[in-house]
């Protein structure tokens, strides 16, 4: 129940504004007065709110109550790896020795930061079986873009200008084709075979002198380990192409397999998934690029190098260039470093082991009532199809919305695109068996409702701060910012 008065969150900041209120006090100028610039350069009005500090704190605290989050709810959003975000990682990232340093200060005054980045590059290379790592890419899709530009630069350096096509499975995240397009490639979609693996026969038919490479997610977005993967990499290599790996699902493979050994040439990691850094409601993330020797000269600038225990920022020889303002999302990198040092090698294996165990436990506990498009051991996530519930006129989306009433965040819906009415569930390793059991109970309860009282599912959610929102209206007449009442 929302409170009244200022603590009610309905009113926007501009409508809360009361002339004369201030939210912070600044010191008076301590220097002699300096003449102002010509008046024609200055603005006349600054339409920002006038609110006091208590109001701001109460308003934003109130807004926070309208969110589900890992700290408050089970969040089995498939492909997003919503695992616990350790608090110590935040504390270290916010410490003055890391948060209060300038990206351009002389290298001799930031050796601690550079040392940390250098070590992180080594750890990520070791975990992925790659030869080197660049950290300047700021999110997963940003890493994809850098990696695909590296593949392009590699072919150009070899004067192999005809390689303009990139093969991408139909199960891929939308960022893959979008990143390939931004890197100047045409996309060829590869179908999946009856087991959910990449259709090798199709891949062979398109592997030729025009193929620049393939972009592959492993485990795939179907939550399964593609058993053809080694052959897939060989086919692409034999045709003269390179293999890009989308590391979004690395939580399944930590300590279990190294993408570099399987045949991948360049991959990105999502530190905000696998390496526990908080997602923040949509970032910041970090998407380091890990590459084999042949591609290291093309990494985006800068990377950290070490010469006789002296660390510095360096530009790789054939770098695709600078892809972000400075040297990466350092605060996120500090968190991931802390996580890796806290867990070690055994911890990496324990993460993947428990993540995969938990997903299989959910799969096994629900497969009698929700359809499995591919009935095989899953990795870190399980994809069900709610197709059969259509008989009762209930869709996957409605099941997802009903879960919100049970106090669980919804799974990823309608993705991957190749599964009808997909519900993609990723429990992660950091949830207890009690939580998994409660979630399983809720899914079974909803299944009963679908046959006994489908209306309650169809109209869900019922207990959330707002009910189903009119998205069509939002898109038809976009209202994208506060406007003064006329």
């Amino acid at each position: 129940m929302e409170q009244g008065g200022n603590r009610n969150t309905q009113k926007l900041l501009m409508d809360r504004s009361v002339p004369g209120r201030v939210g912070c006090i600044l010191p008076d100028s301590d220097v002699p007065f300096q003449a102002l610039p010509p008046v024609n350069l200055l603005r006349n009005s600054l339409p920002l709110p006038e609110v006091s500090e208590p109001e701001v704190v109460q308003y934003f605290t109130g807004l926070s109550h309208k969110n589900f989050s890992i700290d408050t709810h089970f969040y089995p959003l498939g492909s997003c790896t919503m695992k616990y975000n350790p608090k110590i990682n935040d504390e270290i990232a916010f410490s003055p020795g890391f948060a209060q340093i300038h990206p351009l200060q002389p290298e001799e005054s930031s050796q601690g930061a550079l040392n940390l980045l250098f070590d992180l590059q080594q750890y990520l290379a070791e975990i992925t079986g790659m030869d080197g790592v660049g950290l300047s890419t700021l999110a997963g899709a940003h890493g994809e873009f850098a990696g695909m530009l590296m593949i392009r630069a590699y072919h150009q350096q070899n004067k192999d200008f005809g390689r303009l096509k990139v093969a991408i499975p139909d199960s891929a995240h939308g960022t893959n084709p979008a990143s390939a397009a931004m890197s100047g490639f045409d996309v060829i979609t590869i179908p999946s075979d009856d087991n959910g693996n990449i259709d090798v026969k199709f891949l062979k038919s398109i592997a030729g002198p025009e193929l620049a490479g393939a972009m592959i997610t492993l485990p795939s977005t179907l939550g399964i380990f593609d058993t053809n993967i080694v052959e897939v990499c060989e086919i692409v290599h034999k045709a003269g192409g390179l293999v890009y790996g989308d590391g979004a699902n690395m939580n399944a493979l930590l300590g279990r397999a190294k993408l570099g050994e399987l045949g991948f040439d360049v991959i990105h990691l999502n530190l905000h998934k696998t390496f526990s850094t908080p997602h923040g409601g949509g970032g910041p993330g970090a998407g380091p690029v890990c590459a084999k020797n042949i591609l290291l000269p093309y990494l985006s600038a800068p990377i950290v190098t070490c010469n006789e225990s002296n660390y510095s920022l360096t530009r790789p020889k054939h770098s695709i260039g600078r892809i972000s303002g400075f040297q990466g999302n350092f605060g996120v990198l500090v968190r991931a470093y802390t996580y890796i040092r806290t867990l070690g090698a055994q911890g990496m294996k324990s993460i993947s082991g428990n993540a995969v165990l938990n997903a299989n436990y959910i799969m096994d506990s629900l497969k009698d009532i929700y359809d499995l498009p591919f009935n095989r051991t899953c990795m870190h996530e399980v994809v069900f199809s709610a197709q059969s519930k259509k008989a009762n006129d209930v869709t996957g989306l409605e099941i997802a919305k009903r879960l919100l009433d049970y106090g669980f965040h919804a799974p990823t819906m309608y993705f991957p695109l190749i599964v009808d009415e997909a519900l993609m569930i990723e429990p992660t390793e950091s949830e207890t068996k009690e939580t998994l059991d409660a979630f399983i109970d809720a899914m079974r309860e909803i299944d009963k409702e679908i046959s006994t009282n489908p209306q309650i599912v169809k109209e869900a959610p019922h207990s959330t701060p707002v009910s189903r929102l009119d998205e069509a209206h939002a898109a038809r007449s976009p209202n994208l910012k506060w406007e003064p009442v006329k």
């Binding site: 969110n67 303002g325 040297q327 082991g353 898109a475 976009p478």
Partner: protein, 440 residues
Amino acid sequence: MTNTGDFQSHYIPNTTDEQREMLSNIGASSVDELFGDIPSKYRNPELKLPDPLSEIEIVKELSALANKNRTLTSGPSFLGAGSYHHFIPAAIKPLMTRGEFLTAYTPYQPEVSQGTLQVIYEFQSLISNLFGMEVANAGMYDGATSLAEGVLMACRVTKRNTVTISATVSPKYLEVISTYCQAQGISIEMFNPEIPETNKKSACMVVQYPNYYGYVENINKIKESAHASGSLLVVAADPTSLGMFKAPGEYDADIATGEGQSLGIPSSYGGPYLGLFTCKKEFIRQMPSRLVGKTVDKNGQSGYVLTLQTREQHIRRERATSNICTNEALYALASTIYLALLGKTGLKQVAELCYQKAHYAANEINKLNNYSLPINTPFFKEFIISCPRSPSNINKILMKDNILGGYDVSEHIDNGMLLCVTEMNTKEDIDQLVKSLSEV
């Protein structure tokens, strides 16, 4: 594998008994068996990482690394050039690190993400107001990538594939633009902002405001040249300067971007920062990144949703306006709280304090023998001084007095040092800098 016995993590709750119970439900004999799809040759590779550390140990080890870094607060600092040391009100951190904000995903389920969605709508509103622009998106990675995406968008809007960039745009921004353009057949030309010229092939004229060296250029003149050729005006603005200087919208900018780090985000060795992105409303369907819109639920209650998603990669795939997905929502929250706290009067005060102190510093340095101010144009919080010898050499000497000097721009301006003065610098700091410079 076990989570008990020889290895245990406080982040992983399953005990050996619970694992056994779950395995027996599944009908598997071990966790390793679940990884049977990985070809055995590649399964369970050797993994060499340092031994795990307890919280006590990790804090000790990382404090030792942190202590090797010279912090901005440990002595007078005059370094800017794209990352700025501004005041961050204490209320921001406890609000942004609330688990409900910090540990939520992108708001794909609006019914349980109204907190994040309303914050982003507030962010779009306040950034639009600050920039004097019609629309702002939910944020980009940082100032450099935001400008690069602005350039790509100008090419989509105008269907032209040449861009014209001012010679006084940050060299780092220019490099990122060039990286973003390299595969898309877009060619880059430069222009002199004092005699701005472009042509009918150019999608946009790009100007930084204030420019990389801190100076405010004649944006009107650049705008006239751009619009006369049917090119868009793209302005990369410092949001703090907009507390006192005219907004990009007042210059009829078509696209205006910015580095949001100054709005309540620590320097943090270069990231995470926040890309600001605004434009005219007529271009919204060509915008990159997320947008939040206001709508109603089925009971007529107002609420917020991600909108115009058909522009985005998860729907449009290779035909999306950008590949951007995860961006910097947490720092959009930080900057929204910052703008709420500073507000109408506070942001103006911050801007004026920067201006006053920077001009005091410039005037005092100009009085020194051997130093001069080579550029005589209005500036905001940064300016160039000509030094008697190499700026990097001078910086080494300043560091002996525990002063973090300016940025060496001698590559572009003879013995030029780019100094930055903000509200965080006291008169005492500045006088100390002037004294140390005089003793060089």
